[in-house]
Amino acid sequence: MAEQFEPKMTAFVCNWCTYAGADLTGTSRIKYQSNVRVIRLPCTGRIDFMLVMKAFSRGSDGVIISGCHPNDCHYTSGNYHARRRWMVFRDLMDFMGIDLRRVTFSWVSAAEGAKWAELVNEATNTVRELGPYKEVQELTAVGID
């Protein structure tokens, strides 16, 4: 039997809400797929939009971005800025040919341990269906003589 493709998921999450929420998932002993590598940042406002491209070019098949709900940002407005940024960058990525089905955005609070598990499972299942994402990673070998 052929080995099933297991997607590599990278998650960029904010420290105060989603990271704490993911911690709660663990302490609540809620199981979820282990394909995700979590990268903690102070705030979604700090997430450079190019981090998504960096994740893909390094071999991620899917990316998750998650932070505090609007109005709950630990730094007051970081997530508002992030939201605006994603509203534009998402469209631009699509325009330039990046597969948006592989990028998942969410607000997960420190109390939403169950939501984090659900989010990761769904995103991972979606990307597993889609298969490996080599299109950006392959670019690293193109155009160098």
């Binding site: 509203m87 534009v88 990525m93 699509d94 998942t104 955005f105 989010l119 690293t140 193109v142 155009g143």
Partner: protein, 266 residues
């Protein structure tokens, strides 16, 4: 053109400005940027259908600013650039005088208020051919778009003609120039080209006046202006804010509304 020549002569003779930035005859039928300082040479200024390049990029060029107070022959996109530069504190009202070309007339616009009024009367749509191309691209599948940009950007040599000709790319240390860490690869391989053009489009979203000078500047004919146009259109549609509308900063990407509406965040 005569009206422009006499205006320029008047301004230079009186010492009101030290240089008139405008268009002059170039190689063959082309037009090139010229910098008239002597009143006797005001006749070199040309205004015709070939004068489309956005000259506002010179308003932030140190060597040009060093000449003294500037007058600039301004097509509508140049006027918008002046407003955006003013909004971003890169241009003072007393440093630059606009000689606006609107509907074939030359109007001296000495204040940003006057420029705002003037641009409000000029329709803001991008050219038909460019809009058609954007529509064509948005109608394609993601894979088709990826192939399109891979083919186009494959020609990119990272000469930065696009960046250098853009009035809004005035940063003395562009993100491309910072190397600890080198965030976006400098080399013109496939990934380096894709990332650079993505970043540039994002950095212009909400600031671009849609003059198309970047695309015209590209020596290998990549329609890079379509990327910045698209980013700008996205901002306008989503937030109702746009580049070059007025001299007070209203930058979509550094502001927000608590109830900004999106459809994709779970």
């Amino acid at each position: 053109m005569d009206a422009l020549t006499s205006k320029a002569k008047e301004l230079l003779t009186a010492g009101t400005v030290k240089v008139v930035i405008g268009y002059g005859k170039g190689t063959g039928e082309s037009r090139r940027p010229i910098f008239v300082r002597a009143a006797e040479r005001a006749g070199e200024l040309v205004v015709d259908a070939g004068c489309v390049q956005n000259l506002a990029t010179y308003l932030t060029k140190a060597e040009v600013r060093a000449l003294g107070r500037m007058a600039i022959v301004a097509v509508p996109s140049t006027l918008r650039s002046m407003l955006q530069l003013a909004a971003e504190k890169q241009l003072r009202e007393e440093n630059a005088l606009a000689l606006a070309i609107i509907d074939g007339d030359i109007r001296e616009l000495a204040t940003f208020d006057a420029i705002e009024e003037a641009v409000a009367t000029v329709p803001d749509a991008i050219g038909e051919a460019d809009q058609k191309m954007i529509d064509k691209l948005t109608a394609m599948s993601v894979g088709e778009r990826r192939a399109f940009w891979a083919a186009e950007l494959g020609r990119c040599v990272k000469c930065y003609a696009c960046r250098s000709s853009c009035p809004m790319c005035y940063c003395e240390r562009c993100t491309m120039d910072c190397n600890r860490p080198q965030w976006i690869p400098v080399a013109s391989h496939a990934l380096g080209n894709l990332e650079y053009h993505m970043v540039r489009a994002m950095h212009l979203a909400g600031r671009c006046v849609q003059c198309g000078t970047c695309g015209a500047a590209c020596p290998v004919g990549i329609p890079v202006h379509l990327l910045t146009f698209f980013a700008e259109q996205t901002v306008r549609r989503q937030f109702g804010q746009k580049g070059g509308a007025n001299a007070k900063l209203d930058y979509a990407m550094s502001t927000f509304k608590p109830d900004d509406k999106e459809t994709f965040i779970r």
